[in-house]
Amino acid sequence: MANVLDLRRRIRSVKNTRQITKAMKMVSAAKLRRAQEHAMQARPYAQMLASVLDSVVRRSDLYNEETGEIMHPLLTERPEKNVLVLVIAGDKGFAGGFNANIGKAAQRFIQERLAMGQNVDLEPIGKKAIAFYKKNVPMAVYEHKEDRYDNDLARHIEEIRHRAAPVEIAAEHPTLLVKANISEIAALTDSIIARYGSAEIDSVYIVYNEFKSVISQRVVVEKLLPIRKLGSHEMTVMEEMTEEQKEAAGSAARKSGVALTLPEESAYEREAKLFGTANVDYIFDQSPDRIFRFLMPRYVTTQIFHAVLESIAAEHAARMTATDAATKNAEELIDRLSLTMNRARQAAITKEIIEIVSGAAAL
């Protein structure tokens, strides 16, 4: 039987681990609350953008009279030959299956697309996603070409893509999740729209962990471009939470004081739905067409922003659940070890008593 001293040392070490996982859980819970709040506060803007776009497009001349379709490059579908996939995972580990689940879902989606004979460009967002692909997927190669015109005043600049493999990394975004800054995401949108415009890519998808609440999350693939319907999310669910996971997440949330459901729609959100949609004859300072064209890229930006915010919340929720389970395991281990230690100590005491008693009897 193990020695009491060894057991005591082990218990102390597991207690330290418990302390750490417990602290991590509290930190994740606090960060989760903040992330949830951020996601909530970002809703009115996204909603307003969708409402006003929907409203101006009805008043614009952008409709094709014959087919009734809206004429805008971001809404026009063409055969998908080259697909861009944004993969949002986390920046850190210790979050249970969070990063692995997203990696698996992305992999499945990529395989599906490859089987359909399409090329896939990847843009991993977050350090874990980058680490996942860096090892086995090559970076895309661009050739920078500059031609001077005869008059020597202007130049023609072109970035020519040389595709070497069916799956390549088009760009990496290691810092995007740190602050979830809209200007960084807007720059990403600009680059996506430029590539979409030049037909380097024909469609854009985003793989991320959708977060409705702590107990309602799923890994989804959302179609970003071309946009089929304004204001709606076109997504395929890759993985849902099991009942067991929901249970674990729910119990972790209850213990850390995180709400299980998100608050109801705020007054701002209700108002946001009406933005730009009043049934009046607006005076258009600029034409509806122009406002529509101006706002379209911003709409794409908010879609990515939304995915990023949800993914951040989901990551913290996953870490909270994982560290809660770790704390629970540590507690069980401590209980078990304490029992063994007490037994060992008792055995030693009993042995000593027997020795004393038999010693006394021998006299």
Partner: protein, 149 residues
């Protein structure tokens, strides 16, 4: 005309950014930088939709008091009793960081340099520079105002 409520004569003003609702207040008058120049709205104004230029939103009177925000990239809706401004960039003037503005100016110059013969890229570069210059103008204006006092 709008219904006469408790806020009769006052405009409900909202300034919404991608991050949050930055301002929710009432005001007697609101000045907005539209793409075609500044416009000032009062209670009962005709409904209007405008693309925002870069510049200052100024609020006068009401619960907002005198407040100034820098805004860029967005659009605004004016209804008789409310003004809603949607802006990708919106901040109180104090929060404009001159160093960051210089970086934005450099970024604009870089974009211009790399535009080649693509008119759209020139437009983009110009827009970036315009926003940065408008920020500088706002800061200069604020400093001048502070100097007067």
């Amino acid at each position: 005309m709008a219904e006469v409520g408790t806020n009769a004569g006052l405009l409900a003003v909202r300034l919404v950014t991608p991050d949050r609702v930055l301002l929710d207040a009432t005001a007697e008058a609101v000045e907005l930088p539209s793409m075609s120049g500044y416009l000032e709205t009062l209670y009962g104004a005709a409904p209007l939709l405008a693309e925002l230029g870069s510049g200052e939103v100024r609020l006068h009177g009401g619960s907002a008091g005198e407040q100034v925000f820098f805004v860029a990239w967005g659009c605004a809706e004016v209804l008789p009793e409310r003004v809603t401004i949607l802006a990708e960039v919106a901040m109180p003037l104090d929060e404009i960081d001159p160093e960051q503005v210089q970086a934005e100016l450099r970024h604009g110059a870089e974009l211009w340099e790399q535009a080649g013969d693509d008119p759209e890229k020139y437009d983009k570069a110009n827009a970036v520079t315009r926003v940065a210059e408008a920020k500088l103008a706002s800061v200069a204006h604020r400093n001048a105002e502070a100097g007067k006092r």
